[in-house]
């Protein structure tokens, strides 16, 4: 019996390691290739043992101005997240406290509809009012992705807060608005962190809206990395360095705020 248990545990352990490796492999491969020269990538003799070079990273920043694209992504990511919080937090609170779930559903529909359905009208409208290639167009479009997530995560968060906290505030003479601003928001840190991180990550990763609504002045990272590929022959090392540069910030966020991100993804998911 114990012997059988031991074998079973060994099999489970090996399976777990295999799963781990399979899901980590592309990241490992990307990282390795980003430190290789083109000829090292081309020769299959130097898979893991090679003399690393930082040339790819240098060329990404010096020749292709990635700092500018990073800045664009930051402006759009932070802008859309802050504005979505501004609209989303009060809305989620009102929906949670006053049971306006039908209105909540209207907002959730934005999560279900294929984003491409909005893209032609947006493009026509934004062209007409000369907003294509401005941060405004990108921020507005990215907000439509972040806002539903913020609202749905915050609804369950606010619903879990005990009602007594608010009642105490009201007895102390606060108005409802003051209760929200001075009592509810200060204790909502974890929820706000979760939803802002996810909203920022979605904006940082967004490709479809950005490729149409951005231009030379506002091009964010995913579009820049994608365009980078079409320069004649594929320079794999530089491409992988660019992929590392764009992925690193979100991976760092995910690792630092692991619990929040998992909870947020699960909450956004289950409510969806």
């Amino acid at each position: 019996m114990t012997k059988r248990n031991k074998t079973a545990r060994l099999i489970m352990g090996v399976l777990t390691a295999a799963v781990l490796l399979a899901f980590a492999f592309p990241f490992l491969w990307m990282l390795l290739a980003s430190f290789k020269t083109q000829s090292q990538i081309m020769s299959t003799g130097q898979l893991f043992a090679f003399k690393p070079t930082t040339h790819n990273y240098a060329s990404v920043f010096e020749e292709y101005d990635f700092l500018g694209y990073i800045l664009n992504s930051l402006v759009v990511g932070l802008g859309s997240t802050v504005l979505a919080l501004l609209l989303g937090l009060p809305a989620a609170y009102a929906i949670a406290r006053h049971h306006l779930h039908k209105l909540g559903l209207v907002i959730l529909v934005a999560r279900i509809i294929p984003g491409i359905t909005f893209l032609i009208p947006w493009f026509i409208l934004f062209s007409k009012i000369k907003l294509v290639d401005t941060y405004t167009a990108l921020i507005l479009s990215h907000m439509l992705v972040g806002l539903p997530f913020i609202i749905w995560i915050m609804i369950s968060f606010f619903e879990a807060l005990p009602k007594e906290i608010e009642e105490a505030g009201l007895i102390d003479g606060c108005t409802h608005h003051q209760v929200f601003m001075r009592v509810i928001l200060p204790i909502s840190g974890p929820g706000v962190i979760t939803s802002s991180l996810l909203s920022f990550i979605f904006s940082w990763n967004n490709f479809m809206f950005s490729i149409i609504l951005s231009g030379d002045k506002t091009k964010p990272l995913p579009v820049a990395v994608f365009n980078f590929m079409s320069y004649s022959e594929i320079n794999w090392g530089a491409l992988m360095a660019a992929a590392c540069v764009i992925t690193l910030p979100v991976l760092v966020i995910a690792l630092l705020a692991q619990r929040y991100v998992v909870n947020g993804l699960a909450a956004g998911a289950v409510k969806g």
Binding site: F23, I41, F118, M143, A254
Partner: protein
């Protein structure tokens, strides 16, 4: 009157800006898309939009390229979803026991979901590269013949399905693990008394109790798999020979490469109807299932 007007109407003041934003950014575009789906319009300044009624829809439904895209969407969605659900549940069961390094595994599991899809598309492009890619090196290492992967029309969709499975199976697993944590111990203890084996316990306790959770996870993935864009566009742009052109990609190509805005809009209306229809079916199934258990 203890509160002023502002405080009495606070819930509307709180909720309406968000609703107004969503309606303007979402409802207006949808209605506009429906409207231009009845026009022939190529976005040129010389020829103004021309009302053609249902002609765009009729033309689309007669096109083999449209049906091909619909078929590719269905193929990609059904296979990816099936693999992700089965694999996701299996991995959740594997990881739900206690073991050393559990947090590390969960962390690694999180990375594919948050990593930038375009960047990941490029990484997979390198992995699938026929001469230098890791995928063929592995095939050779275990004595199999190398493949063309994304370069072959027949292998392209399965290759993309592998990427989607890599990226999103963790999502199903995480949701299912959360569901597993809420299953009570008592049924298992009763089963132990009855002398039930491991498989029997799984089939008659775990799986039935997990069914609502699995359905929620599958529903969520269904909605998103249908809409897959980034990975496909970043790797194949619909090729080779339109093999990976899904409805989403074809809509994009019609609209922003051919500038056939009317035709693209009619395709998007059909696509929108498909996604909404399937979502409603899933919601209805979930309701029915909940009713069964009550």
């Amino acid at each position: 009157m203890p509160y002023n007007w502002f405080d009495r109407n606070l819930k509307w003041i709180y909720v309406l800006p968000a609703v107004a934003f969503v309606l303007v950014m979402m409802l207006f575009p949808i209605l506009y898309t429906v409207r231009i789906s009845f026009y022939e319009w190529s976005m040129s300044a010389i020829t103004p939009p021309k009302w053609v009624g249902l002609d765009n829809y009729a033309a689309l439904l007669k096109e083999s390229r449209f049906w091909h895209a619909a078929g590719s969407t269905l193929y990609f969605t059904v296979v990816a979803l099936a693999v992700e659900v089965v694999l996701g549940v299996a991995i959740a069961l594997l990881l739900s026991r206690e073991f050393r390094g559990k947090n590390l595994v969960k962390t690694v599991f999180l990375l594919p979901m948050v990593a930038t899809p375009v960047a990941m598309g490029l990484v997979w492009l390198l992995i699938y590269e026929p001469t230098i890619g890791a995928a063929n090196l592995m095939l050779k290492a275990i004595g199999l013949k190398p493949m063309l992967w994304l370069g072959s029309p027949a292998q392209a969709i399965p290759s993309l399905i592998i990427v989607d499975v890599w990226q999103w199976t963790p999502m199903i697993s995480l949701i299912v693990m959360a569901g597993l944590a809420t299953i009570p111990r008592e049924p298992y203890e009763a089963a132990d008394v009855d002398g039930a084996g491991r498989w029997k316990k799984f089939a008659s306790i775990t799986l039935p109790l997990l069914r609502p959770t699995i359905l929620v996870a599958a529903m969520l993935r269904l909605i998103d798999v249908l809409k897959t864009f980034d990975i496909i566009y970043a790797t194949t742009q619909g090729g080779p020979d339109l093999a990976t052109e899904t409805l989403n990609i074809y809509g994009y190509v019609l609209g922003f490469q051919y500038f056939k805005l009317g035709m693209a809009s009619s395709l998007l209306v059909l696509f929108f109807a498909l996604v909404m229809g399937l979502t409603l079916v899933m919601i209805w199934m979930r309701k029915r299932m909940e009713a069964q258990y009550d």
